[in-house]
Amino acid sequence: MRAFTYQRVSTPAEAAQAAERTPGSRFIAGGTNLLDLMKLEIETPTHLIDVNHLGLDKIEATPQGGLRIGAHVLNVDLASDARIRRDYAVLSRALLAGASAQLRNKATTAGNLLQRTRCPYFYDTAQPCNKRVLGSGCSAIGGYNRNHAIVGHSEACIATHPSDMAVAMQLLDASVETVRGNGAMRTIPIADFYRLPGTTPHIENTLAAGELITAVTLPRPLGGRHFYRKVRDRASYAFALVSVAAVVQPDGSGRVALGGVAHKPWRVPGAEASMPNGANAVVERLLAGAKPTADNAFKVTLVQRTLESVLAEAKKG
């Protein structure tokens, strides 16, 4: 690990100011992903800004009838919150399907959103990777890519986003609140938060340099039945091959988002109109234009069958 200086800050604006004026700095909250990447020198910050003491650890009701989740609410506390369990069960389920209890005890809401891909070539500094070193090439294309993207990817990168939580946030139309060093705040709908790889796979979201996430807000509860079905190589503590987040209403309408298939949580609102017509109709539009590799073509079928299973369970009442 490269040496770094360390700073504790006490307000969000102070954190953002410190980041703007200190080149090579990174925010650190739980650190469960960043420290791992720093050990491997995939991330090489020269200055860490500890944002754990900003008071952003509360979940509060909003005037709109939703919830405002502080950026540093721990994954365990978010999954355990009685309001989340009752009104946003898909979020609780997604969190509990991710990582291990030890990691959920440390990882934060904002950190979870910002975690980086687990593509093995991104992790292996001896291999070309456009996400790590832009222009070096993508080793996953033509390499080991059983667990890579099937939709929305580019010739530069076929990595997937690893988060389960973010898939539920996408389904729930969450918004990301931020602050800049000059005190300017903005709210980014999660649909506009993540980027597809295109020719710039190293840029994964629409945050500006030094911009700090302060909260994630959820709109009013959707009602309906909530599902987060994660299919993986082992029953626990593994990243998704595919995951299906869904909210299904009594009349069969609803929403669906996918994990494990793209560079970002994957949702196509136009596909959701087909939900009462069954999984095939939904997947046809949800995965329109999918370009799987020979090794991950199974994911298309797996998405279809997993959604079918979710919709069948929803029907059982």
Binding site: M1, R2, A3, F4, T5, Y6, Q7, R8, V9, S10, E14, A18, I28, G31, T32, L35, D36, K39, E41, I42, T44, T46, H47, L48, D50, N52, V76, A79, S80, A82, R85, R86, A89, S92, R93, L96, A97, A99, S100, A101, Q102, L103, N105, K106, T125, A126, Q127, P128, C129, R132, V133, G135, S136, G137, A235, S236, Y237
Partner: protein, 221 residues
């Protein structure tokens, strides 16, 4: 707050001169650059910056410690290398195996994925703090009784995790296998297995580990 960063940066600059002189001879920069095909993908060969140190106060197993450590030091390394509490084990050092599990401010974490300096004022319980020979924690005694290990390397992490599992179920923290999120989780074998999934045992003592935890939980093993 700003004072501490200025001080740190100033100290870093002072130390840098010496460190750069050292790396000039220690790191064969030219050799790295000449390695065939390495230039495109590898992180550019930049001389490492000088170490930065910081003070941290930790209460470990009820005993107060004040240390000055390199900012890069993990909580795991402080426990093992500075405090010589070698019960906590370094397995993967990547948060994948759970051998380094300790209880930090009442919650189990992977101590390998946590910087010591970020836990100023925290309370840490390690396997040594749970119990000692002759005065074992009930979970330690149950692991012995049920043979919940073979080589024993993962065992301190398993036991710290197991103690936390029962605490988490008692507090109503749900898990992936909790059937009804709006009810308190049950103390079942499925719950224990799911909640212990962050602790890998390469010897495969899992069924005995579950027996040990079940016994402490008050169930029939």
């Amino acid at each position: 707050m700003d004072d501490s960063i200025e001080t740190n940066i100033a100290r870093r600059n002072v130390l840098k001169t010496g460190a750069l002189a050292a790396t000039a001879t220690a790191v064969p920069l030219g050799a790295i650059a000449q390695t065939p095909n390495a230039g495109t993908a590898a992180t550019p060969a930049v001389p490492a910056s000088a170490p930065v140190t910081s003070k941290v106060k930790l209460r470990v197993n009820g005993k107060q410690h004040e240390l000055t450590v390199d900012t890069r030091t993990s909580l795991l390394d402080v426990l093992r290398e500075n405090l010589h509490l070698t019960g906590t084990k370094k397995g993967c050092d990547q948060g994948q195996c759970g051998a380094c599990t300790v209880i930090l401010d009442g919650r189990r974490i992977n101590s390998c994925l946590s910087l010591a300096i970020m836990h100023d004022g925290s309370e840490v319980t390690t396997i040594e703090g749970l119990g000692q020979p002759g005065k074992l924690h009930p979970m330690q005694a149950a692991f012995v009784k049920h043979d919940g290990y073979q080589c024993g390397y993962c065992t301190p992490g398993q036991i710290c995790s197991a103690v936390s599992v029962l605490d988490e179920i008692r507090k109503g923290v749900p898990s992936h296998v909790t059937a009804d999120l709006n009810q308190k989780p049950l103390l079942s074998i499925d719950e224990i297995r799911e909640r212990m999934s962050g602790n890998i045992c390469r010897c495969g003592a899992y069924s005995n580990i579950v027996d040990a935890i079940t016994e402490v939980a008050g169930g029939k093993a």
